[in-house]
Amino acid sequence: MPNPPFHEWTLIEAARKIRDGEISSRELTAALLERIAALEPKINAYITVLPEAAMARAAACDEERARGKASGALHGVPVGLKDIFCTRGVQTTCGSRILAGFDPPYDAGVASKVLASGAVLLGKHNMDEFAMGSSTETSHFGPTRNPWDPSRIPGGSSGGTAASVAAGTCFAGVGTDTGGSIRQPAALCGVVGLKPTYGRVSRYGMIAFASSLDQAGPLTRSVADAAAMLGIIAGHDRRDSTSVDVPVPDYLPAVSRPVRGMRIGLPREYFEGAGLDPEVKAAVERALKILTDQGAVAVEVSLPHTEYALSTYYLIAPAEASSNLARYDGVRYGHRAEGASGLIEMMSKTRAEGFGAEVKRRIMIGTYALSAGYYEAFYGKAQKVRTLIRRDFAAAFEKADALLTPTTPTPAFRIGEKTGDPLTMYLSDIYTIPCNLAGIPGISVPCGLSKSGLPIGAQLLAKHFDEETLFAVAGAVERALPAPGAAPVASAPVHK
């Protein structure tokens, strides 16, 4: 067993140790696979684990290194991907029964970039079905549990990735964020989660939930790791018309950039709501103090259309989802219902069996919102409000370089606590959703633990393509706070 505990290393540390020959990729990969075997029964962060493929790739990496041919920033480092990214020949389910057994014939843009960086793919992380959920409870493959308290949810929909990073069953992962699905579980699991600018990372091969909001981004143990991961996955992809062709900077130097003189905006509306837990509020205020102590300036800003963000989101996302998910009809791939007579019955039965309750609920809402006679009142109106929300942010960024808010209203709730009440569940993304509607980048950085020992995250938002400011501010918060330490599940001895 590597010593000190390898699972507490950051991604960058692991990459350096392999590069310097302190540890082989095989040793590290085998250790992680052992850890996965021990912890998975407790947290269920993976849908698919790839022991043979991972070991084979680790061996190949070691051999390449021995021949002096190692290339790529993550050469030999074990990582995981949310099961929403298509991986050639490796089952990709999107957390749904309807795609169980689906082996894509191609790699997602993100998957190819991660593999091209030399990383070893350990497996595919659990997630809310089709990324619809805030707790990873809607997965067809069972809920993921929070490594800080297995009776609680890890957040969602990238809950599997967040839990795995927190539990040390991978060094980093890539998730997706449609309304907060990277930042919210990052906050609840005590890790760093970044949603880059819409268009910054390719959506090719990323199974669509709501195309105009979906964005891939890293979940890591440190801000620097997030910067390194973004450097790997960012960049224009000709296969994605919405990906933007702007140069990718080297993000790492931004992490240690001083915050002196930076204007930190506090959106009034984000601190006024009744649902904000006092402990969360206090933790975010502590983060602000850290920043002002380092010379940043606090300014109050207003995002007046915030109150409409949730309802806008719950029209646009389901509308797009209802169309994106229509292709799952049992005709060409995935699950097909048995015993249907005729085409229409086969399609209806397949969809009835293949989709879970939350997915069906959103398909129904979306279908209704787009239907003739309602389009203008719902989808059309929502798009107009979306423009107003985007303008709110543009105005705020004239006063502030970055905005600081809570990531979630409360720490992680208990499994099953909100599943019966979707509307309450939707409120867990209330602070993260406006960022997706505006297409701006956002990061969640750990900013302490609640009295009951649950992680709390602070969210930072910046202008389009200004991820560097996020890294600078998040880096400053991270450096000043005592490390939250390993999650209790993660620190429990797992090997003989």
């Binding site: 894509p104 191609y106 090719y204 199974i207 018309s241 169309s323 229509a326 009809d329």
Partner: protein, 471 residues
Amino acid sequence: MEFEAVIGLEVHAQLSTESKIFCACSAKFGAAPNENSCPVCTGMPGVLPVLNRKAVEYAVRTALATSCRVQRRSVFARKNYFYPDLPKAYQISQYEAPLALAGHVDIETDGGTKRIGITRIHMEEDAGKLVHEGEFAGAQASLADLNRCSVPLMEIVSEPDMRTPEEAGAYLRRLRDILVYLEVCDGNMEEGSFRCDANVSVRPKGQKEFGTKAELKNMNSFRNVEKAVEYEIRRQIETIEDGGRVVQETRLWDANAGVTASMRRKEEAHDYRYFPDPDLLPLVVEDAWVEELRGTIPELPADKIARLSRDYGIPRYDAGILSSSRALADFFERCVALYGGAAKTTANECVHWKDAILAGRLTPETIAHAVEDRESGTVSATASKKLVEAVLETGKAFRALRDEKGLTQLSDASALDAVVDKVLAASPKEVESYRGGKTGLLSFFVGQVMKESRGKANPKIVQEVLKKKLG
């Protein structure tokens, strides 16, 4: 009561791009089922469409050639519906903001030129097709062939400006000629790369409001479109005269029976739930690009007909046939350039040898030489035809064949003298009768001279020599 028909046409033209509109698959017709398919056009999870620039270029050129206004910004929308040949369960098509608006095409009618308005031109992807049990060997059930999925189409919607089946046919032909001239569509109706639906209604003459329309589908030739529209107009008039009412419906043309029949559909009320496709950014066509493309628009059929008949003094009808193909018209002009002569003769020859010319089997030199030799009297009309046929058979040059076969006419009067003398000497009685006033015998002598010269003598010259000698 006298009725008047109101006809509007919706044409779907397949753009002749190498690849499909949103992926790199080949758009060629006739591949084995599902050979031209990939994750993108088969709608696999996670894939995204990327617009084919060439397809946009072709559609913009069409818009310019039909005097449409090219919209700087147009939007692709999703038309959502379930069907096994539609793998994404939506078709990407322009809807509220199409590529081009408000153009027109002029057609020739008995009453002169008539302008048919074009409402809009938009771009979209085609769907696949289903092959049902028994339709080909081994088919046990309904099978989906996705080769056509995402093949680029352009829909050209006309204003309801046509009043007769002939006008509809003329518009359709003119539109096809334009697309073929632009080389943006091969115009092949049988292979479905040029398809047409017709909206037909009738109303009492003089009434302003439109009658209830029927949409006609399934017409795969120009003749069928005209026949279907003609049938439908008669059917609607008879329905009204019999006290019935025309219902709004889709009708299929049955070419064998020569009738249109109602296409019964249970799921009549479709809600396509259109919305802008979030995977594609709005299409922005820069003015500079439009201007650049404007420079690539060739002379179009209407202009070509006018110019040919004006510049060469040939009848409009001939100019029309020559202009039905850009290649044929070019061929004609090259022939005239090679040998000045009478353009009308050249036009006749080009029309006569049209198929061989379009198949690339004749050079302008061949026709120019044929015309020149005819006009100079070197070759007879019959020999000329034989020689062109020989060119087609052997691939040898016209004049080489002419000399080889000795098909040159004897046009030299002095060379004919001996032959004429011989014929006159052999028929003293006829010579006497002729001189006695039976001038009708001239053709007898001509015939004899032709026979004696084995067809080589130029009949015109023979006549002149005979008349002189017979005094």
